[in-house]
């Protein structure tokens, strides 16, 4: 040691700078940064040169041009009011973004609910529940997602009746007819006075929240409990229903209508046109009611069922990660099993569950790009598929798409990080 110190003191300033860990670190950082920047500059320059030499267009001017193709009716086309031959490529882009967000949103909700249920079942003392959950998890997570998507799509198609009939009717009053072209739902028409019902609902929510907050305060101060959940539920349902009744029911449901072969065809005013429906005319009458397409249903089923299998394992791991002493301690304090689960086990398990759960949400979002296989018009299908083939500007369009997935994923991750921070144990 002594000799080393001696040799260091003899060195010039430059050598000692090289031995200084801070300076050395900085040097390598700068070298790396230069290399990375140079690499990307080289790629960019190469790309521009090659594109120019191939005579390809570049830039984002294509977004304003009219796209000439029709897109399957989905929430995206509904929101963007897209019509074939009028919609621009930018509209197509937004339709894709909306459809991707919609499938991800509903997929995440269903996968989370089912995943938590299956995860808890896997730890159940009931052999049948436990066995079923184990079977579910082992089957679904071990089959490739694309195959599952095809399976559900063709199961949905083959199981449903022909489009010439209103088909099977779901719902208590048969208000959800379903055939091979989709699940038909009544379209709500909001009449005058409906906004006051909405405001009443918001007020009821605030009231319920206030009661639960006061009840919590009181419990902390005096230890007396109050059934705030049930009271809140009553307030949130009863008060808006009363308002709805008072306003004279300001909501009409426009049901989807169907023609059978031989039914008279009506014109726009509901007058008979004197013609009867031939086989091609039979089926759903466009423009009335709403429809959920089988492509959406199949993709949603496949994504939710597949991801739920992974979430179930995460939930199981999370619950098992809570030491058994916690349950025993709660029991010793005379706390009931359901409150032990809600107030002792789950809050601690959530710390373990949330980070991997976030990855599953991100996976589901990215997996939704498999939609193209079964004709659901998500971003990859219509923008990177159809639109890219018409426009041919891979770099710009793939870049836009990558940005969308990046923003969706970062947004989900940011939300989950916030949620995670809230769920962390408060250490005192």
């Amino acid at each position: 040691m002594a000799s080393m110190t001696a040799s260091e003191t003899e060195d010039t300033g430059l050598t000692s700078l090289l031995y200084d860990p801070k300076a050395r670190g900085l040097l390598f950082q700068i070298l790396l940064l230069t290399a990375v920047v140079a690499f990307f500059a080289w790629i960019l320059d190469n790309t521009i040169t090659n594109l120019a030499s191939q005579g390809k267009k570049s830039g984002f001017g294509f977004l304003g041009e009219t796209s000439g193709f029709a897109i399957l009716t989905t929430l995206g086309t509904f929101v963007m009011e897209a019509r074939a031959g009028v919609a621009t490529y930018f509209d197509v882009f937004w339709i894709g973004v909306i459809n991707t967000l919609v499938i991800s949103f509903f997929g995440i909700i269903a996968a989370t609910l089912l995943g938590f249920l299956m995860g808890i079942f896997r730890l159940s003392n009931n052999v049948i529940l436990r066995g079923f959950a184990t079977f579910y998890v082992e089957i679904l997570r071990n089959i490739p997602l694309l195959l599952q998507i095809f399976f559900w799509y063709f199961v949905v198609l083959r199981a449903l009746p022909d489009k010439r009939a209103s088909g099977i009717s779901l719902g208590i009053f048969g208000e959800f007819p379903m055939n091979v072209t989709g699940l038909y739902i009544p379209y709500p028409l909001f009449l005058e006075g409906f906004s006051s019902v909405v405001w009443t609902f918001i007020a009821a929510c605030v009231l319920a929240w206030t009661i639960s907050w006061l009840a919590k305060k009181r419990q902390e101060a005096t230890g007396r409990q109050f059934p705030s959940f049930w009271v809140g539920l009553l307030i949130i349902t009863a008060i808006p229903l009363f308002a709805f009744y008072q306003m004279g029911g300001p909501l009409e449901l426009e049901a989807a209508k169907f023609l059978n072969v031989g039914d008279p065809i009506l014109d726009a005013n509901g007058e008979p046109t004197g013609r009867t429906a031939s086989k091609i005319k039979a089926g759903y009458i466009a423009g009335e009611g709403g429809v959920i397409k089988p492509e959406f249903i199949a993709l949603w089923l496949a994504l939710a069922l597949y991801t739920a299998a992974f979430i179930a394992e995460i939930v199981r791991a999370g619950i098992l990660a809570v030491p058994g002493g916690q349950t025993e301690a709660a029991k010793a304090l005379g706390i009931s099993p359901s409150i032990t689960l809600r107030k002792v086990i789950i809050p601690q398990a959530m710390r373990v569950i949330i980070p991997p759960l976030t990855s599953q949400f991100l996976n589901l979002t990215k997996n939704s790009s498999l939609a193209i296989a079964i004709a659901y018009p998500d971003l990859v299908s219509i923008f990177a598929g159809t639109a890219l083939n018409q426009v041919g500007q891979e770099i710009e369009m793939i870049f836009m798409m990558m940005m969308v997935y990046l923003i969706i994923s970062l947004g989900t991750a940011a939300f989950m990080n916030w949620f995670n921070a809230r769920m962390m144990l408060v250490e005192r």
Binding site: T47, Q54, F69, A70, L146, V180, A373, A375, G385, N389
Partner: protein, 341 residues
């Protein structure tokens, strides 16, 4: 498909890194590799399809084999890359394939904006519609409100949209990535109509549960000249592909077949002598050997032989050639090649 989107990104990078070398001198690259990389479909009987033993066959495959025969004197010096409709142009412009011979329609947009060149037409097609016979429809004009299944990333989506808009009819378009799913969904009753090129309808109906229960409507709603495609900006390679196709067509016109090509080389007809390389230096002008067309015809055959072997009346596709637009121009069709002189 997640990996498709990764593939797209990779191709974009590939375009950045590789295209500079790939597009400049394709012939030299091909010679260095020892084989022609040919982009084909993922399975369209008659055009490009794998048989039971895994060999690619079809009239589009024959174009690639002919180019390999012209360049190397060996029709088997070809490697095939199956491409979906939406991958094909990216694969070509990134240099992943040297020729795209995948029932691709020649349109102005593709020719002028995608950085591609169409080297000719090897099949004149048109878009048609197939419906179940039980639907009771005899004309496409009765299809108001129909659900239509098709492939994504093709001109068929545009044509069908144009047709229904022009006739003020409503419709629903269900666009799948791969033809197999289109057929399966149509067979399952998801759609009333299956639309694609008429040659494609003839090929894909063989995959239906009951091919006889479906009819092709009489309307042809588009012009679909199909042909091989190369990258723009490499005229040497473009000329090789164009003149290989022309040689096959000229051979048919001159009566040269794979069977008699060797004997015809000593023919007195100067046209045949120029084609087969016993007169003039046409092969060298292309950067090839003078017997280039001889190799093409003796190993792959002339255009008519290729047609009859893969899509003609005696194949499952039963696309009768006589009287159709795909007959030789001397028989009233559109198949015509510039002369070799």
């Amino acid at each position: 498909m997640t990996f498709k989107y990764a593939l797209g990104a990779l191709s974009a990078i590939g375009l950045a890194l590789g295209a500079g070398t790939a597009s400049a001198d394709t012939l030299a690259d091909v010679k260095a590799k020892g084989s022609v990389q040919c982009g084909v479909s993922q399975g369209l009987p008659g055009f490009s399809n794998q048989d039971d033993s895994g060999n690619w066959t079809g009239i589009d495959v024959d174009v690639c084999k002919a180019v390999a025969a012209a360049v190397f004197g060996d029709a088997n010096a070809v490697k095939f890359t199956p491409l979906s409709a939406k991958e094909r142009f990216t694969a070509l412009s990134s240099g992943e394939v040297d020729i795209l011979s995948r029932n691709t329609t020649w349109t102005m947009t593709r020719d002028t904006q995608l950085g591609l060149n169409f080297a000719g037409v090897n099949y004149y097609d048109g878009q048609g519609m197939m419906v179940p016979a039980g639907l009771g429809v005899t004309s496409a004009l009765e299809l108001d409100g129909a659900s239509i299944c098709t492939n994504t990333g093709t001109t068929t989506e545009l044509n069908i949209t144009d047709f229904f808009r022009a006739n003020k009819m409503g419709f629903e378009l269900v666009a799948f990535e791969k033809a197999d799913e289109v057929v399966a969904a149509y067979d399952a009753g998801r759609c009333d109509v299956y639309t694609t090129d008429r040659s494609g309808l003839a090929a894909q109906r063989l995959k239906l549960a009951d091919p006889a229960a479906h009819i092709v409507l009489p309307e042809v709603i588009s012009k679909e000249p199909l042909g091989p495609v190369v990258r723009q900006g490499d005229d040497v390679w473009f000329n090789i592909v164009r003149w290989t196709l022309n040689a096959m067509i000229n051979a048919e016109e001159l009566g040269v077949t794979s069977g008699n090509a060797a004997a015809m080389a000593s023919s007195d007809n100067p046209g045949i002598k120029r084609l087969l390389g016993t007169e003039g230096n046409f092969g060298e002008a292309l950067g090839l050997s003078n017997d280039w067309a001889m190799q093409v015809i003796s190993q792959v055959g002339n255009y008519g032989e290729s047609y009859e072997a893969h899509v003609g009346a005696n194949t499952p596709l039963k696309l009768n050639r006589s009287g159709s637009v795909n007959a030789l121009w001397t028989n009233g069709g559109l198949i015509y090649a510039a002369p070799i002189r």
